[in-house]
Symmetry: D2
Subunit: 335 residues, 4 copies
Amino acid sequence: MLKIGVLGCGRIGRMHARNVAAHPATKLAGVYDINATAAAEVAGNLGVPAFASGDEAITSPSVDAVLIATSTETHADYIEKAVAAGKPILCEKPIDLSLERVDLCAERIRDTKIPIMLGFVRRFDAGHAATRAAIRDGAIGELHQVIVTSRDPGMAPAAYIEGSGGVFRDMTIHDFDMARFMLGEEPVEVFATGSRLVDPALMERTGDFDTVTVVMKTASGRQAIINNSRQAVYGYDQRVEALGSAGMAVSENRRPHGARLFAAEFTERAEPYLNFFIERYEQAFNDEIGEFAAAVAEGRAPSVGFEDGRVALALAEAAMKSVREGRIVKVSEIG
Amino acid sequence: MLKIGVLGCGRIGRMHARNVAAHPATKLAGVYDINATAAAEVAGNLGVPAFASGDEAITSPSVDAVLIATSTETHADYIEKAVAAGKPILCEKPIDLSLERVDLCAERIRDTKIPIMLGFVRRFDAGHAATRAAIRDGAIGELHQVIVTSRDPGMAPAAYIEGSGGVFRDMTIHDFDMARFMLGEEPVEVFATGSRLVDPALMERTGDFDTVTVVMKTASGRQAIINNSRQAVYGYDQRVEALGSAGMAVSENRRPHGARLFAAEFTERAEPYLNFFIERYEQAFNDEIGEFAAAVAEGRAPSVGFEDGRVALALAEAAMKSVREGRIVKVSEIG
Amino acid sequence: MLKIGVLGCGRIGRMHARNVAAHPATKLAGVYDINATAAAEVAGNLGVPAFASGDEAITSPSVDAVLIATSTETHADYIEKAVAAGKPILCEKPIDLSLERVDLCAERIRDTKIPIMLGFVRRFDAGHAATRAAIRDGAIGELHQVIVTSRDPGMAPAAYIEGSGGVFRDMTIHDFDMARFMLGEEPVEVFATGSRLVDPALMERTGDFDTVTVVMKTASGRQAIINNSRQAVYGYDQRVEALGSAGMAVSENRRPHGARLFAAEFTERAEPYLNFFIERYEQAFNDEIGEFAAAVAEGRAPSVGFEDGRVALALAEAAMKSVREGRIVKVSEIG
Amino acid sequence: MLKIGVLGCGRIGRMHARNVAAHPATKLAGVYDINATAAAEVAGNLGVPAFASGDEAITSPSVDAVLIATSTETHADYIEKAVAAGKPILCEKPIDLSLERVDLCAERIRDTKIPIMLGFVRRFDAGHAATRAAIRDGAIGELHQVIVTSRDPGMAPAAYIEGSGGVFRDMTIHDFDMARFMLGEEPVEVFATGSRLVDPALMERTGDFDTVTVVMKTASGRQAIINNSRQAVYGYDQRVEALGSAGMAVSENRRPHGARLFAAEFTERAEPYLNFFIERYEQAFNDEIGEFAAAVAEGRAPSVGFEDGRVALALAEAAMKSVREGRIVKVSEIG
């Protein structure tokens, strides 16, 4: 059993703490949050100690490994400290909003053998993973096109948007990773465009976009299309489609249950989709913990690592540049 | 080109006349109806002669074959006349409401080599036919259970119900044939039960049922379940399901088009199903004409014939007896 | 937190023990099994004590309530003992294979106010529950017909079949309850028929059936059709369909994930369904624990109780009598 | 009855001739093809005269209106001649491969009141039309994003590709129109990218692409994404999706029939989709004829006209320029 200390007791940190406590391969060693009350509450509910600081959580002998779910600007620091303490790391995305900071972090931990895993949880969704497997196993022949549809159920609070680093680094970053996961080759070109349609006033004020399209191409010509919206009122919309020379693999939305209604005016009516990521990716969050524990146990690199976090961030920067300049940006233009 | 004379210009006769006129393998030789105005109108629209009588239609040298779509009580007479005239026959179901009359007809035409086809149109539906093919080809292994769901979109007019011969001979008769088509063995036992739920007053008055369930078993133990309702407000509901030792084959409902709607309260909402048989079985009615023309051209028996009409009627009688007596009725008890 | 002692550490008891341990409203007080090694293993894994006997589990002051998941013949005894000890009960179905024993048990606990819940877990499936809610809320108007499709993924071991009490009391019993849950009225007539198609030799030897159809009717004429098979190779098949005067509500099968494959020979191909009840009804088993805890906390009767267990068993007996006699059996004929 | 002369007896011209002959509102006056043998064959099959020249077909007093389905380079000439002859026109897309020629044609027919309809048949597909209606009726609120998926079942013959004018003018042109149909606003910006993945050698030789993505934006920020492939081995893939502030409307693929297969290795497996446009858009081609006849009868402009043909071609040119220059192209840059 891998004893994990969870840093961060916000919405996602609390969920991770519960998952770590319940997973058969892990044990929750304790939790930390900058808000001591929040940490104490989570610790109390789960019957574990609350650490007084992030450093204590990382260095405590009761902690074998750390799960970093604090605010983004602290991720790189904690990664460096955990590496220094020799503790395996599962870090929520993104590593940092600044590619420079990410590169500095990479430089500082360059020679480490410590397993570092990035929380690109969607790779562990059984449907997305089966789609990836179909591609890898040749079930659809040579891959030609990937389409990632990813829409939040509703606009995040203004404060969240303001601190998010913009839609490409906050939201699309998951889809950049999903596209790479499916493509099996690195994108070399990025085109992006953004609109302000869901909450134009907020988007104007923050210089952000709520509706974006990204098109990427690999050296061999494989295409990936990402479409994002901050608002899909029918529920969290998460789909992946892969077209190949011998077929197509898709990962469809999940319905919350199997009921449908038929009436004089309609047929096959179903419920709205699950509201958001904690419900939609429940299975994936659990299997992410499992992969982390397995990688540590086997002394191997996790299936998704630090470099994946860096590349997704570079693609986000390329998309931002593409929007500014109205042209295709080569990924090689980004540091 | 097979020149066909169509007897009967009611709703289904008119449809047949149009189909015969448009089908590449057939030509409409003329039409007849007891109502001369109706016949004249159809004849005028399709540019063909109207015959003065059923006998004229049958014996006319311009007619190679006849399609009988008149009222039920005339079917057996016209079959006998067409056989006497040496004209191949496509007859709408049922042959007659009386099994005695059917048997008399069978006796009278006993030694004929004239192709006689019964209008069990659903056998020609591409989805149902593919399901039958899956069974025959072993795609689901040994067949164990067949479930036929068959519900009209709405209660027929009282006058229709009064003259229908009852739900089993009027409506379920199609499903008895569908069950036989799928089973590949003859049912030997029949159980049926009926309820008066859609229009209890009309059903009480006519001694009929609007909601029925039939369970049949073959000698080897294969089961068929039929469920009927005179009213499915969401549209004409026509499904078949076949469970076997190695899988399941189903024929689902068809949607009128591919549109779906998603909103804050629902997802995947589609249109009501097609309203009734002329729309739902359009492809099947056309392919039925094709099979009839092919059978005549090849001098062979059509894939569904007189005896199929007789057996379906016998099963209807068995069902009626089962309802009356509250017990399983052996088909051998019916004449 | 309701402290629950779990009696029985077989497949379903182990699952219940894990669920009770993880549920936010309950705590696992300890476990018991007639096989002390099995009990010790489960106890060790979950960090709780193993009780030395069922009596000790029931009477222990550390136990607020009991969950009975032992072999069927012990259920009634344990229910009586738990009632005597004043401990609320969640008991797996069936109460007993003998209606006489059930009635004796009912007599002995007649005046108790102790909450007793029967483990008809499917009522708690979100899809089935939404279908029931659609009926109750009038979304489909007056209910006319209910169809319950319930097929196991594969034949149980011979030893299980031999001790099962027969398909109606072992397997269909869930579907009798599901039909009652949907019907909103009591069935008054039962017709059943059985075949030996999946494993004829085993069925012959045990006098059992592996493929059965049951048709029931309420006093107002509502019909329920149940179809069961011991083997659906494509996965555990669990569907409910309710037809009403104003529409239809269905609860469809759940796919294990959202992936589909398309190729030159096919489209929309999905994975086999979840293999069996522990996976398929995972959500339902958890919500069943929640309902039990809530009922105890609120001092009210659980939503499904002892009498529901008795009625389902009486319907099973009626079905068995119907098969023997080839006729409709009135439920009033059964004690 | 509108008497229509059909010019062109290739695959699509033959289909149109059959449809015109069968449609209740039209009559086939005759056919013409540059290949007199082809014309004679079609004329013979349908029992109509073959015209000796396009001019004769257009000017014949037996012809009320013309349907132009000849090779693309003749379209503009025939349009001009039909306008001169005062005959309403239904012309297959595109008007011409050259925007200059289209503009010259527009100039020449500037003041005509003759109804001219462009054959953007997909607008008449019942599913696509219902999706458009959902947008127009406000069922999805304000429109934000349109996604058009359009993939041919297999690569066209090399000769066809060579004379096609390139994928954007030949294939995407339908999707440019579909996007405009859905958007309800004109695109002002176009980005496009192309790959050579299906048949790289042919694409290299012709300077064409077989896999393309187009992103367009309207002045208000609405986005349209088009993805095209020359090869979808699972069948002709034709889908439209529209996301709005209050919901989503989609038009899904149609299955050829309702059959599905389930086995130990899979569930819900269906047939490949219909192979190509004549089958997939059968209903739409018929309703297109109906709209043409109705517009002529009512003396109004058809719902899709010459200008729609011109705009779609301009968008194709913008896409070609975008691919060449790797940047967003404003539609105003294109003449």
